[in-house]
Every structure is written in C-alpha cells, then in structure tokens.
Amino acid sequence: MNNLIIIPIILPLLVGMILVLFKNKIIFQRVVSLVTLVGMIVVSIYLMNTIKNDGIQTLQLGGWEAPFGIGIVADMFAILLVLTTAVVATCVLLFAFRSIGEDRERHYFYPLFLFLIAGVSGSFLTSDLFNLYVFFEVLLVASYVLISLGGEKRQLRESMTYVVINIISSALFLVGIAYLYTVTGTLSLAHLSSRIAEAGQDYLITTIAILLLLVFAIKAGLFLFYWLPGSYSAPPTAIAAIFAALLTKVGIYAIFRLFTLIFYHQPDVTHVFIGALAALTMILGGIGAIAYSDIHKILTYNVVIGVGFILAGLASFTYDGILGSIHYLMHDMVIKALIFLIGGAIIYITGSSHLKHMSGLIRTHPYLGWMFFIAALSLAGIPPLSGFIGKIFIVKGTFDQSLFWIGAVGLITSLLILYSMMKIFMNAFWGETILDVNEEKGSTKGMLFPIALLTLLTILLGVGAEGIMGYIEIATKALLDSSLYIDAVFNGNPIP
C-alpha cells in the first residue's frame, strides 16, 4: 500500500476542478497549473526511486483487496511514462503561455489541459480493464473539447471526425470488455493474467485479444491512423503538440500492457499480427511523410511512423526489443512535442504552413534552426541523440527473433524520416531570407525556452542513457515476467 501513487491522478484532476472557478484570473491559472505539473514531476521521480528499491507499488482503493476492489498499480514502466508525461506537459504548457491566446485561456484551456493529464496518468496507473476505459474517456472528453476549442471552421470539421472515430472505438472497447468478462469472470488485469495463464489462451480469448488490439490500434494510430493527420493539424500548436506527444502513446501503452501481461501465450499469432500492422504503419507513414510539403502533414505522418516503430519492439517480444521500445517510447514523447513546437514556431513566424512560403529563416532565427536540426537528427536516430538507442535495441530484438522484414522496414523508414525532416530544414531555414524581421507575422519571444528545454532532454536521453537505462531495465524485466505484477497486486493473498 502506498497512497502516494494516486497523486499523479488526483492532483491535476482536483486542481483542474478548482481552476474552473477562476475563469478570468489568467495569471493565477497559469501559475497554479505550472506548479501542479512540477509537483507531478517531483512525485514521479520520488516514486521511481521507491519502485527501484522496493519493487512494484500498489494501492487498493477503499481497502478492498484485489481482485474485488479497483487497484492502482505503479510499476516502473507506468511511472516512467507518467514522469515523461509530466515533463513534456510542463514544456508544452510554457509554450502555451505565449501562443495559445487570451480567448482560449479564458475558456478553460488550463483546466482542460489538466484533466487531459489526469486521464493520461490514470490510464498508465490503473490495474483494472474497465477503469482503463473510464480513464480513456476522461482524457478523450478533455481532448474533444480541446480540439474544438476556438470553433474555427476547419477545427469543427476535423473534431467531428475525431469524435466519431473515438466513440466507435470506445463502443468496441466496451464490447471487448463484455466478452472478456463473459469468458473469464474478472476485469482486474492481474486476475485476468493469472486466470488466462491457468486455463490457457484458447482461440476464443485470442479473438477477443485481436478485438481489443483493434480498439487500441484506432486510438494509437497503429495502421488505422487515417483520422490522425487531419485531426492533429487542426488545433493550435500547443494543443497539437500535447496530442502528438501523449494521446497515441496511451493507446500504445494499453497494447503493451495487455500483450505482455495477459495475452502473451500465443505470440506467433498476436505478436506477429502486431508486427505486420507495425510494418505497414511505418511504410504508409513514411510515404505520407515524404509526399507532402505542408509542415503539419509531414509532422503528423512522423507521429504515425513512431507508433509503428515502438510496436515493432513489442512484436519481437524479446528482452532487447522491449527495452528498446520503452526507451523509444519516452524519446518519442519528448521528440514529438519538440518537433510540433518548432513547427508551430515556424508557422507562427511565417504565417503559413506550406514550405513554399518560407525560406532562409536561419539568418533571422539561428537558435530555432539549429534546434530543429538536432531534433531532426534525433528523430532519424543518429547517435549520440536519443532516437539512436531505442532504434538499435528494437532492430536487434527483431533480428534476434528472425523477424528481419520488420527490422528492415524500420531501418528504411528511418531514412524516409531523415529525408522528410531535411526537406523542412532545407526549405525553411536555407536559401534566401524572404522575410525581414519587421515583416514577420509573430515573434518567438518566450517560445524558445520550452523548445530549448526539450532539445536538452533529447540530448540527455541519448548521451546520458546510462543513467536512465537502469530504470528501463527494471521496467522491461517486470513487463516480461508477469508474476511480478500479479504478486504485487495480490500481495500474498490467495488468488480466487
């Protein structure tokens, strides 16, 4: 029992509720939300070290022992993602102070932002399948409002697609839950894991696993990503950045949790299927990324490629593959927020998202240009930046399992990523400077600080990988050995 692990959920939730009352006090809202997120970072780091020393931490809400109560479980994998979420959210929030506009600030931007964070960390920490559904809805409802906040014509249309797609996938999620409850009679993840391990994973359970995989594939943008490019390019930069950094990752987390803890008995069916979807996602995303010359489109297709890459590691289902996936997942959250913020800053300066309308920005904005260059290299996986370490372990994992086609697709896609990012770099930053400083549509004052923070993080995640690798190894071991999770939840009690 550790009461502290519920803090990343209730802190943003409660603060968000309080902030709703102070609609017009913008400075107050800014300060309080920033303090909340920094508090989340501190708590996550503390919990990370507790888990390192004492193992997986659990909290049975209301004192009801598992599997009857609803539990909150923090293993290393979950808490690493909560920490990354809090760090990325802090940077995006700092960017939002300058860019989001007073109108949106007055209309509950900060409370909604905090509700979104509460939903995301709740999804990471819960240990009950239905509770996962509820936290998904918390973050989705917040995202529905954030994506349509402002009510521009384009936003309304794209949010319609987004909402409809997500409602359908939520309905399918409920269907999956109903089937699973009919077959196993429980919804607690640890209990499901032990029951399915006992009774064996027959064809019926594998079918349910594939259904749940499709649900999370829609949410994560794994193969079923056709809604993603439109929806992520409609809202303002800060909101698009937090979506790109967090929302697809929650779906990926759910796939990881279910297919390492519960449905791991038939990897030749489920995990190879995930691998095929991941390879297709990388190919299609790569084609999308090089085909467009609109910054929004290029960046959103890069989000899609990232999803494919992370799940390639899961498909290999080896120690190295999962290790690489976890590192790449953290790197991806940081780097996607970073490139979206830089892209947003470029659009803010030039007033257009099309590469034709920009040129020679490096002369007027050298820092922005070089940080974009670092981000591009990191995204493509050039050592010693953060993308490299994750990629090399994922590729090693797939090769060890003789899944050469997945590894090969991953490596080729990295080249496509590099090409698409260099296209932006060369078009936007090289060439003749066509915009005088006085002609610029907006200034980047105050925007460079969060961008610099994230750039520093991506360098640190790469160069200082030794420091974080110890934690990631603990997370990988816990993911591959489901008995650790089950023992922590049941805490020595007999499993009914």
């Binding site: 239905f130 559904y133 509820v134 809805e137 409802v141 529905y144 409002v145 349509s148 009510g151 014509k153 384009r154 309304l156 249309r157 949010s159 319609m160 909402v163 409809v164 409602i167 359908i168 939520s170 309905a171 399918l172 409920l174 269907v175 839950i177 109903a178 089937y179 409850y181 009919t182 919804l187």
Partner: protein, 112 residues
C-alpha cells in the same frame, strides 16, 4: 431470452452502422447512439441473464444476479450521455458555421 437479446444487439449494431454511413450529421450521431446502446446491452448479457433473483447472496436464496455488469453499464451510460450532449452542441455549431448538415458539402466548404 439470451438468443432474443443477442439478435437485438445485432440489429442495433447493424442499424447503427447503416446510419453512420449516411451523409447527414444527425443520422451519424443517432447511429453512434445505437451502437453504444448495443454495447451496453452486451455488457448486461456478460453477467448472464437470470430472472427474478436479487444481486445479493443470502442464506436461503440459491442463485443471485451478478451486480458488476450493471455497475459497468451505469458508468458507460453516464459517459455516453455526456458525450452525446457534447456531440449535439458540436454539430449545432458546425451547422451554424457551414449552413449545412451534409458532410460532403462540409468537406467541400472546408477546403476553400
């Protein structure tokens, strides 16, 4: 009874899918509602249908109803209610901006 309910769920999903494929916004939303209702009924069935017994275990009753699916449905219905309200407001706003509720025309207008 189970067979009847299974057929009903199938019909709900079938008509929901049909409605989602149409062009009018309000029909799409009605279709979504139907599909969510189908999912809720499926949840109800997941506990098994036993008529006439309370969701309590007492000394003299031999059978009891599983209360968990009902708690799940209650939660799902509340969430669905909130989202439906949001969707209706969203579609009204879109109608006001685009002056149409036809999805094809919305796409054309948005690209201008």
């Amino acid at each position: 009874m189970e067979t009847l309910l299974a057929i009903l769920i199938g019909v709900l999903f079938f008509s929901g899918t049909y409605l989602i494929l149409s062009k009018q916004l309000i029909r799409v939303f009605l279709g979504l509602s139907l599909i969510t209702h189908g999912a809720n009924l499926l949840l109800l069935m997941s506990g098994g249908l036993k008529g006439g017994s309370p969701p309590l275990i007492s000394e003299n009753s031999s059978q009891f109803t599983d209360p968990l699916p009902q708690a799940l449905i209650l939660t799902a219905i509340v969430i669905n209610f909130a989202i439906t309200a949001f969707l209706l407001v969203l579609s009204y706003q879109a109608y006001k901006k685009y002056q149409t509720d036809d999805l094809d025309q919305m796409r054309r207008n948005g690209n201008e």
